[in-house]
Protein backbone atom coordinates (compact mmCIF):
# COMPACT_ATOMS: atom_id res chain seq x y z
CA UNK A 1 0.00 0.00 0.00
CA UNK A 2 1.50 3.32 -1.08
CA UNK A 3 0.15 6.85 -0.77
CA UNK A 4 1.47 8.61 -3.83
CA UNK A 5 -1.68 10.10 -5.22
CA UNK A 6 -4.46 11.96 -3.45
CA UNK A 7 -7.91 13.02 -4.68
CA UNK A 8 -9.06 16.22 -2.98
CA UNK A 9 -12.80 16.76 -3.31
CA UNK A 10 -14.04 20.24 -2.64
CA UNK A 11 -17.27 22.16 -2.94
CA UNK A 12 -15.37 25.32 -1.91
CA UNK A 13 -17.42 25.55 1.26
CA UNK A 14 -15.78 23.28 3.80
CA UNK A 15 -12.32 22.52 2.43
CA UNK A 16 -10.02 25.15 0.96
CA UNK A 17 -6.35 25.30 0.13
CA UNK A 18 -5.26 25.56 3.77
CA UNK A 19 -6.79 22.09 4.25
CA UNK A 20 -4.56 20.77 1.44
CA UNK A 21 -1.53 22.34 3.07
CA UNK A 22 -2.33 20.38 6.22
CA UNK A 23 -1.93 17.17 4.18
CA UNK A 24 1.55 17.98 2.96
CA UNK A 25 3.17 15.89 5.71
CA UNK A 26 2.22 13.01 3.43
CA UNK A 27 5.04 14.11 1.12
CA UNK A 28 7.36 12.46 3.63
CA UNK A 29 5.46 9.25 2.96
CA UNK A 30 5.71 9.50 -0.82
CA UNK A 31 2.83 11.78 -1.80
CA UNK A 32 3.76 13.36 -5.12
CA UNK A 33 0.50 13.91 -6.98
CA UNK A 34 -2.64 15.83 -5.99
CA UNK A 35 -5.82 15.71 -8.07
CA UNK A 36 -8.60 18.21 -7.41
CA UNK A 37 -12.25 17.40 -8.01
CA UNK A 38 -15.13 19.84 -8.00
CA UNK A 39 -18.55 18.51 -8.91
CA UNK A 40 -21.21 20.98 -9.99
CA UNK A 41 -24.46 19.42 -8.93
CA UNK A 42 -26.84 18.66 -11.75
CA UNK A 43 -29.67 20.56 -10.08
CA UNK A 44 -27.59 23.76 -10.19
CA UNK A 45 -27.56 23.76 -13.98
CA UNK A 46 -30.44 21.42 -14.80
CA UNK A 47 -33.20 22.14 -17.22
CA UNK A 48 -36.00 24.19 -15.77
CA UNK A 49 -39.35 25.05 -17.20
CA UNK A 50 -38.95 28.08 -19.45
CA UNK A 51 -35.17 28.34 -19.13
CA UNK A 52 -33.80 25.06 -20.51
CA UNK A 53 -30.31 23.91 -19.59
CA UNK A 54 -28.44 26.70 -17.83
CA UNK A 55 -25.34 26.62 -20.03
CA UNK A 56 -24.21 30.08 -18.97
CA UNK A 57 -24.41 29.09 -15.30
CA UNK A 58 -22.40 25.94 -16.02
CA UNK A 59 -19.69 27.96 -17.81
CA UNK A 60 -19.57 30.49 -14.97
CA UNK A 61 -19.39 27.85 -12.22
CA UNK A 62 -16.73 25.90 -14.10
CA UNK A 63 -14.67 29.04 -14.64
CA UNK A 64 -14.90 29.97 -10.96
CA UNK A 65 -13.65 26.51 -9.98
CA UNK A 66 -10.96 26.68 -12.64
CA UNK A 67 -9.59 29.98 -11.34
CA UNK A 68 -9.39 28.52 -7.82
CA UNK A 69 -7.78 25.27 -8.95
CA UNK A 70 -5.19 27.08 -11.08
CA UNK A 71 -4.21 29.12 -8.05
CA UNK A 72 -3.95 25.99 -5.87
CA UNK A 73 -2.17 24.00 -8.58
CA UNK A 74 0.51 26.65 -8.90
CA UNK A 75 1.46 26.09 -5.25
CA UNK A 76 1.50 22.32 -5.75
CA UNK A 77 3.55 22.47 -8.95
CA UNK A 78 6.09 24.81 -7.39
CA UNK A 79 6.83 22.13 -4.79
CA UNK A 80 7.83 19.79 -7.62
CA UNK A 81 4.65 17.75 -7.30
CA UNK A 82 2.21 16.60 -9.97
CA UNK A 83 -1.25 18.12 -10.04
CA UNK A 84 -4.44 17.57 -12.01
CA UNK A 85 -8.03 18.75 -11.84
CA UNK A 86 -11.52 17.64 -12.73
CA UNK A 87 -14.44 20.07 -12.90
CA UNK A 88 -17.54 18.13 -13.86
CA UNK A 89 -21.32 18.30 -13.75
CA UNK A 90 -23.17 15.37 -12.20
CA UNK A 91 -23.74 13.42 -9.01
CA UNK A 92 -20.81 13.94 -6.62
CA UNK A 93 -20.39 10.37 -5.35
CA UNK A 94 -20.28 8.48 -8.70
CA UNK A 95 -18.04 11.20 -10.10
CA UNK A 96 -15.66 10.87 -7.15
CA UNK A 97 -15.59 7.07 -7.38
CA UNK A 98 -14.91 7.16 -11.09
CA UNK A 99 -12.20 9.84 -10.81
CA UNK A 100 -10.51 7.78 -8.08
CA UNK A 101 -10.60 4.70 -10.29
CA UNK A 102 -9.47 6.55 -13.41
CA UNK A 103 -6.55 8.19 -11.63
CA UNK A 104 -5.61 5.15 -9.50
CA UNK A 105 -5.94 7.23 -6.35
CA UNK A 106 -4.44 6.05 -3.04
CA UNK A 107 -6.40 8.35 -0.71
CA UNK A 108 -9.59 10.35 -1.17
CA UNK A 109 -9.97 13.48 0.96
CA UNK A 110 -13.40 14.98 1.42
CA UNK A 111 -15.30 17.17 3.85
CA UNK A 112 -18.07 16.13 6.16
CA UNK A 113 -20.88 17.60 4.03
CA UNK A 114 -23.34 17.99 6.86
CA UNK A 115 -26.96 17.41 5.91
CA UNK A 116 -30.28 18.16 7.45
CA UNK A 117 -31.90 15.76 9.89
CA UNK A 118 -34.35 14.43 7.31
CA UNK A 119 -31.65 13.66 4.75
CA UNK A 120 -29.60 11.93 7.42
CA UNK A 121 -32.57 9.82 8.37
CA UNK A 122 -33.37 8.70 4.84
CA UNK A 123 -30.12 8.62 3.00
CA UNK A 124 -27.25 9.91 5.02
CA UNK A 125 -24.80 12.39 3.61
CA UNK A 126 -22.80 12.20 0.40
CA UNK A 127 -19.76 11.42 2.55
CA UNK A 128 -21.41 8.29 3.90
CA UNK A 129 -22.42 7.25 0.40
CA UNK A 130 -18.83 7.75 -0.73
CA UNK A 131 -17.57 5.62 2.16
CA UNK A 132 -20.01 2.89 1.17
CA UNK A 133 -18.94 2.86 -2.43
CA UNK A 134 -15.23 3.59 -2.37
CA UNK A 135 -12.60 0.88 -2.64
CA UNK A 136 -10.00 3.51 -1.73
CA UNK A 137 -9.32 4.79 1.80
CA UNK A 138 -11.28 7.97 2.48
CA UNK A 139 -10.18 10.78 4.76
CA UNK A 140 -13.06 12.84 6.10
CA UNK A 141 -11.09 15.95 6.85
CA UNK A 142 -12.30 18.26 9.57
CA UNK A 143 -9.87 21.08 9.15
CA UNK A 144 -11.79 23.54 11.30
CA UNK A 145 -12.28 22.04 14.72
CA UNK A 146 -15.40 22.77 16.73
CA UNK A 147 -13.30 24.81 19.14
CA UNK A 148 -12.53 27.23 16.29
CA UNK A 149 -8.92 26.03 16.03
CA UNK A 150 -7.56 24.49 12.88
CA UNK A 151 -6.12 21.00 12.63
CA UNK A 152 -3.04 21.70 10.53
CA UNK A 153 -1.08 18.57 11.52
CA UNK A 154 -3.58 15.71 11.27
CA UNK A 155 -0.95 13.01 10.68
CA UNK A 156 1.17 13.74 13.74
CA UNK A 157 -0.63 11.55 16.22
CA UNK A 158 -3.24 9.22 14.74
CA UNK A 159 -5.42 7.01 16.89
CA UNK A 160 -5.92 3.62 15.27
CA UNK A 161 -9.11 1.86 16.33
CA UNK A 162 -8.75 -1.89 15.86
CA UNK A 163 -11.56 -4.44 15.93
CA UNK A 164 -9.55 -7.36 14.44
CA UNK A 165 -11.56 -7.28 11.19
CA UNK A 166 -9.79 -7.50 7.78
CA UNK A 167 -10.57 -3.83 7.19
CA UNK A 168 -9.00 -2.80 10.50
CA UNK A 169 -5.91 -4.80 9.51
CA UNK A 170 -5.93 -2.74 6.31
CA UNK A 171 -6.16 0.43 8.40
CA UNK A 172 -3.06 -0.69 10.29
CA UNK A 173 -1.23 -1.34 7.01
CA UNK A 174 -2.30 2.09 5.80
CA UNK A 175 -0.61 3.74 8.79
CA UNK A 176 2.53 1.66 8.32
CA UNK A 177 2.61 2.85 4.70
CA UNK A 178 2.64 6.50 5.79
CA UNK A 179 5.00 5.94 8.73
CA UNK A 180 7.35 8.75 7.71
CA UNK A 181 4.53 11.27 8.12
CA UNK A 182 3.69 10.15 11.67
CA UNK A 183 5.15 11.06 15.05
CA UNK A 184 3.37 8.61 17.29
CA UNK A 185 0.56 6.11 16.85
CA UNK A 186 -1.96 5.46 19.60
CA UNK A 187 -3.75 2.13 19.19
CA UNK A 188 -7.03 1.36 20.85
CA UNK A 189 -9.34 -1.63 21.02
CA UNK A 190 -12.73 -1.25 22.65
CA UNK A 191 -14.38 -4.25 24.24
CA UNK A 192 -18.03 -3.64 23.57
CA UNK A 193 -20.31 -3.39 26.57
CA UNK A 194 -22.93 -5.44 24.70
CA UNK A 195 -20.46 -8.22 24.03
CA UNK A 196 -19.82 -8.58 27.76
CA UNK A 197 -23.42 -9.15 28.75
CA UNK A 198 -24.06 -12.59 30.24
CA UNK A 199 -20.42 -13.68 30.13
CA UNK A 200 -18.69 -15.34 33.06
CA UNK A 201 -15.61 -13.86 34.71
CA UNK A 202 -13.36 -16.40 32.99
CA UNK A 203 -14.91 -15.64 29.60
CA UNK A 204 -14.37 -11.92 30.17
CA UNK A 205 -10.76 -12.52 31.13
CA UNK A 206 -10.30 -14.54 27.95
CA UNK A 207 -11.61 -11.64 25.87
CA UNK A 208 -9.28 -9.29 27.69
CA UNK A 209 -6.31 -11.61 27.13
CA UNK A 210 -7.14 -12.03 23.44
CA UNK A 211 -7.51 -8.26 23.03
CA UNK A 212 -4.21 -7.51 24.75
CA UNK A 213 -2.46 -10.07 22.57
CA UNK A 214 -3.91 -8.40 19.47
CA UNK A 215 -2.76 -4.98 20.68
CA UNK A 216 0.73 -6.33 21.43
CA UNK A 217 0.98 -7.77 17.93
CA UNK A 218 -0.13 -4.47 16.41
CA UNK A 219 2.43 -2.60 18.52
CA UNK A 220 5.10 -5.03 17.34
CA UNK A 221 4.26 -4.24 13.71
CA UNK A 222 4.75 -0.53 14.29
CA UNK A 223 7.86 -0.93 16.43
CA UNK A 224 9.46 -3.10 13.75
CA UNK A 225 9.00 -0.13 11.39
CA UNK A 226 10.58 2.24 13.91
CA UNK A 227 7.31 4.00 14.75
CA UNK A 228 6.64 5.13 18.33
CA UNK A 229 3.46 3.45 19.51
CA UNK A 230 1.27 2.99 22.57
CA UNK A 231 -1.69 0.64 22.98
CA UNK A 232 -4.79 0.99 25.12
CA UNK A 233 -7.71 -1.24 25.97
CA UNK A 234 -11.05 0.47 26.62
CA UNK A 235 -14.38 -0.99 27.65
CA UNK A 236 -17.82 0.43 26.95
CA UNK A 237 -19.87 1.82 24.10
CA UNK A 238 -17.53 1.73 21.11
CA UNK A 239 -17.91 5.16 19.54
CA UNK A 240 -17.91 7.07 22.81
CA UNK A 241 -14.83 5.17 23.99
CA UNK A 242 -12.97 5.91 20.75
CA UNK A 243 -13.81 9.59 21.16
CA UNK A 244 -12.75 9.47 24.80
CA UNK A 245 -9.44 7.80 23.93
CA UNK A 246 -8.82 10.36 21.18
CA UNK A 247 -9.29 13.17 23.69
CA UNK A 248 -7.23 11.53 26.45
CA UNK A 249 -4.37 10.64 24.09
CA UNK A 250 -4.51 14.02 22.32
CA UNK A 251 -4.91 12.31 18.97
CA UNK A 252 -4.80 14.39 15.80
CA UNK A 253 -7.07 12.05 13.84
CA UNK A 254 -8.83 8.70 13.99
CA UNK A 255 -8.10 5.80 11.65
CA UNK A 256 -10.36 2.76 11.39
CA UNK A 257 -11.55 0.12 8.97
CA UNK A 258 -14.99 0.03 7.41
CA UNK A 259 -17.02 -3.17 7.36
CA UNK A 260 -15.24 -4.58 4.31
CA UNK A 261 -17.88 -7.13 3.50
CA UNK A 262 -18.54 -8.47 0.06
CA UNK A 263 -21.54 -8.52 -2.28
CA UNK A 264 -24.62 -6.59 -1.33
CA UNK A 265 -23.28 -6.06 2.16
CA UNK A 266 -20.71 -3.68 0.67
CA UNK A 267 -23.40 -1.08 0.72
CA UNK A 268 -23.83 -1.35 4.47
CA UNK A 269 -21.46 0.83 6.37
CA UNK A 270 -20.88 -0.06 9.98
CA UNK A 271 -22.33 2.29 12.57
CA UNK A 272 -18.90 2.99 14.08
CA UNK A 273 -17.25 4.31 10.88
CA UNK A 274 -20.42 6.19 10.08
CA UNK A 275 -20.39 7.87 13.48
CA UNK A 276 -16.69 8.69 13.25
CA UNK A 277 -17.06 10.20 9.79
CA UNK A 278 -20.05 12.34 10.60
CA UNK A 279 -19.91 13.14 14.28
CA UNK A 280 -16.33 13.00 15.49
CA UNK A 281 -14.60 16.34 15.75
CA UNK A 282 -11.33 14.85 14.48
CA UNK A 283 -10.42 14.03 10.89
CA UNK A 284 -11.13 10.37 10.20
CA UNK A 285 -9.52 8.00 7.76
CA UNK A 286 -11.66 4.98 6.94
CA UNK A 287 -10.02 2.10 5.17
CA UNK A 288 -12.09 -0.49 3.30
CA UNK A 289 -11.30 -4.19 3.53
CA UNK A 290 -9.58 -6.22 0.84
CA UNK A 291 -12.68 -7.70 -0.72
CA UNK A 292 -14.27 -4.40 -1.59
CA UNK A 293 -14.52 -3.13 -5.12
CA UNK A 294 -15.87 0.18 -6.35
CA UNK A 295 -19.64 0.00 -6.43
CA UNK A 296 -20.21 2.44 -9.25
Amino acid sequence: MKINKLLFITDFEELWFDAIKSLMDLKKAGLNHVVFLHVIKREDVAMRRGTGYLKETEVRLKEMANVRFINWAESIFEQGMECGAYIVVGDPVPKAVSAAKEEKIDLIVTGRHKKGKLEELYGGSETIELLRRSATPVMVHKFMLGSGKVNDKPFERPLLALDWSPSSQKALEFLVAIKDALKKVEIIHVISENKMKGLSKIELQKIQKYSKKGLDEACGTFEKEGIEVAAHLYIGEITSQIEKAAREREASMIVAGTTGKSGWKERILGSVPRYLAEKSELPTILVPGESRTDAD
Partner: protein, 129 residues
Protein backbone atom coordinates in the same frame (compact mmCIF):
# COMPACT_ATOMS: atom_id res chain seq x y z
CA UNK B 1 0.20 20.30 -44.29
CA UNK B 2 1.86 20.27 -40.89
CA UNK B 3 0.55 18.08 -38.08
CA UNK B 4 0.01 19.83 -34.77
CA UNK B 5 -0.82 17.91 -31.62
CA UNK B 6 -3.19 19.70 -29.23
CA UNK B 7 -3.22 18.46 -25.61
CA UNK B 8 -5.90 20.12 -23.49
CA UNK B 9 -8.62 18.79 -21.18
CA UNK B 10 -10.97 21.69 -21.95
CA UNK B 11 -13.21 20.89 -24.92
CA UNK B 12 -13.78 24.59 -25.70
CA UNK B 13 -10.03 25.20 -25.90
CA UNK B 14 -9.56 22.15 -28.13
CA UNK B 15 -12.18 23.49 -30.56
CA UNK B 16 -10.71 26.99 -30.48
CA UNK B 17 -7.13 25.84 -31.12
CA UNK B 18 -8.20 23.36 -33.83
CA UNK B 19 -10.09 26.09 -35.66
CA UNK B 20 -7.09 28.42 -35.57
CA UNK B 21 -4.83 25.61 -36.81
CA UNK B 22 -7.14 24.61 -39.67
CA UNK B 23 -7.45 28.22 -40.76
CA UNK B 24 -3.66 28.28 -40.97
CA UNK B 25 -3.31 25.14 -43.08
CA UNK B 26 -2.36 22.85 -40.21
CA UNK B 27 -3.88 19.51 -39.36
CA UNK B 28 -4.77 19.26 -35.65
CA UNK B 29 -4.48 16.01 -33.71
CA UNK B 30 -6.58 16.25 -30.57
CA UNK B 31 -5.94 14.68 -27.15
CA UNK B 32 -7.38 15.32 -23.68
CA UNK B 33 -4.53 14.74 -21.24
CA UNK B 34 -0.82 14.11 -20.93
CA UNK B 35 -1.15 10.32 -21.11
CA UNK B 36 -3.08 10.42 -24.37
CA UNK B 37 -0.84 13.19 -25.64
CA UNK B 38 2.34 11.24 -25.04
CA UNK B 39 1.14 8.12 -26.78
CA UNK B 40 -0.07 10.21 -29.75
CA UNK B 41 3.31 11.97 -30.01
CA UNK B 42 5.05 8.60 -30.20
CA UNK B 43 2.60 7.36 -32.79
CA UNK B 44 2.34 10.45 -35.05
CA UNK B 45 5.58 12.38 -34.44
CA UNK B 46 3.85 15.77 -35.00
CA UNK B 47 5.60 18.94 -36.22
CA UNK B 48 4.46 20.96 -33.22
CA UNK B 49 2.78 20.36 -29.84
CA UNK B 50 0.41 22.82 -28.17
CA UNK B 51 0.26 21.76 -24.55
CA UNK B 52 -1.88 22.70 -21.56
CA UNK B 53 -0.47 22.31 -18.02
CA UNK B 54 -3.23 21.51 -15.52
CA UNK B 55 -4.87 18.30 -16.76
CA UNK B 56 -6.06 14.99 -15.35
CA UNK B 57 -3.87 11.85 -15.42
CA UNK B 58 -0.58 13.44 -16.52
CA UNK B 59 -0.01 17.18 -16.33
CA UNK B 60 1.69 19.25 -19.01
CA UNK B 61 4.65 19.62 -16.67
CA UNK B 62 5.28 15.88 -16.62
CA UNK B 63 4.50 15.42 -20.29
CA UNK B 64 6.87 18.25 -21.23
CA UNK B 65 9.61 16.64 -19.16
CA UNK B 66 9.01 13.27 -20.83
CA UNK B 67 9.25 14.91 -24.25
CA UNK B 68 12.42 16.81 -23.52
CA UNK B 69 14.23 13.86 -21.98
CA UNK B 70 13.39 11.46 -24.82
CA UNK B 71 16.01 11.62 -27.57
CA UNK B 72 13.51 10.71 -30.28
CA UNK B 73 11.03 13.43 -29.25
CA UNK B 74 13.02 16.26 -27.75
CA UNK B 75 13.39 18.19 -31.02
CA UNK B 76 9.64 18.58 -31.52
CA UNK B 77 8.82 22.22 -30.67
CA UNK B 78 6.39 22.81 -27.81
CA UNK B 79 4.10 25.77 -27.19
CA UNK B 80 2.61 25.84 -23.71
CA UNK B 81 -0.92 27.26 -23.66
CA UNK B 82 -2.16 27.41 -20.09
CA UNK B 83 -3.78 29.36 -17.28
CA UNK B 84 -0.80 28.39 -15.12
CA UNK B 85 1.77 31.18 -15.01
CA UNK B 86 5.06 30.73 -16.90
CA UNK B 87 6.97 31.45 -13.70
CA UNK B 88 5.23 28.50 -11.99
CA UNK B 89 5.98 26.22 -14.93
CA UNK B 90 9.66 27.10 -14.83
CA UNK B 91 9.85 26.83 -11.03
CA UNK B 92 8.23 23.41 -11.07
CA UNK B 93 10.76 22.21 -13.64
CA UNK B 94 13.55 23.62 -11.45
CA UNK B 95 12.10 21.86 -8.39
CA UNK B 96 12.02 18.53 -10.25
CA UNK B 97 15.62 19.05 -11.35
CA UNK B 98 16.58 19.76 -7.72
CA UNK B 99 14.99 16.42 -6.78
CA UNK B 100 17.45 14.68 -9.06
CA UNK B 101 15.59 14.62 -12.36
CA UNK B 102 17.30 15.78 -15.56
CA UNK B 103 17.29 19.49 -16.42
CA UNK B 104 15.08 20.47 -19.37
CA UNK B 105 15.16 23.52 -21.66
CA UNK B 106 12.46 26.20 -21.61
CA UNK B 107 9.52 25.66 -23.98
CA UNK B 108 9.70 27.29 -27.42
CA UNK B 109 6.83 29.58 -26.53
CA UNK B 110 4.63 30.18 -23.48
CA UNK B 111 1.15 31.59 -23.97
CA UNK B 112 -1.05 32.31 -20.98
CA UNK B 113 -4.79 31.77 -21.47
CA UNK B 114 -6.86 33.35 -22.81
CA UNK B 115 -5.05 33.90 -26.07
CA UNK B 116 -6.20 35.82 -29.15
CA UNK B 117 -6.50 33.72 -32.32
CA UNK B 118 -4.12 36.05 -34.18
CA UNK B 119 -1.49 35.68 -31.46
CA UNK B 120 -1.72 31.88 -31.52
CA UNK B 121 -1.63 31.80 -35.33
CA UNK B 122 1.42 34.04 -35.35
CA UNK B 123 3.30 31.82 -32.89
CA UNK B 124 2.40 28.65 -34.82
CA UNK B 125 3.49 30.18 -38.14
CA UNK B 126 6.75 31.45 -36.69
CA UNK B 127 7.69 28.06 -35.22
CA UNK B 128 6.67 26.02 -38.25
CA UNK B 129 8.39 28.26 -40.74
Amino acid sequence: MKNVLVVDDDADVRIFVSTVLEENNCSPIITKNGDEGLSKVREKKPDLIILDVLMPKRSGIKMYRELKTDDSLKKIPVVILSGIAKRTFLRSQEALTEFGEKGVPEPDFYLEKPVEPEELAEVVKRILS
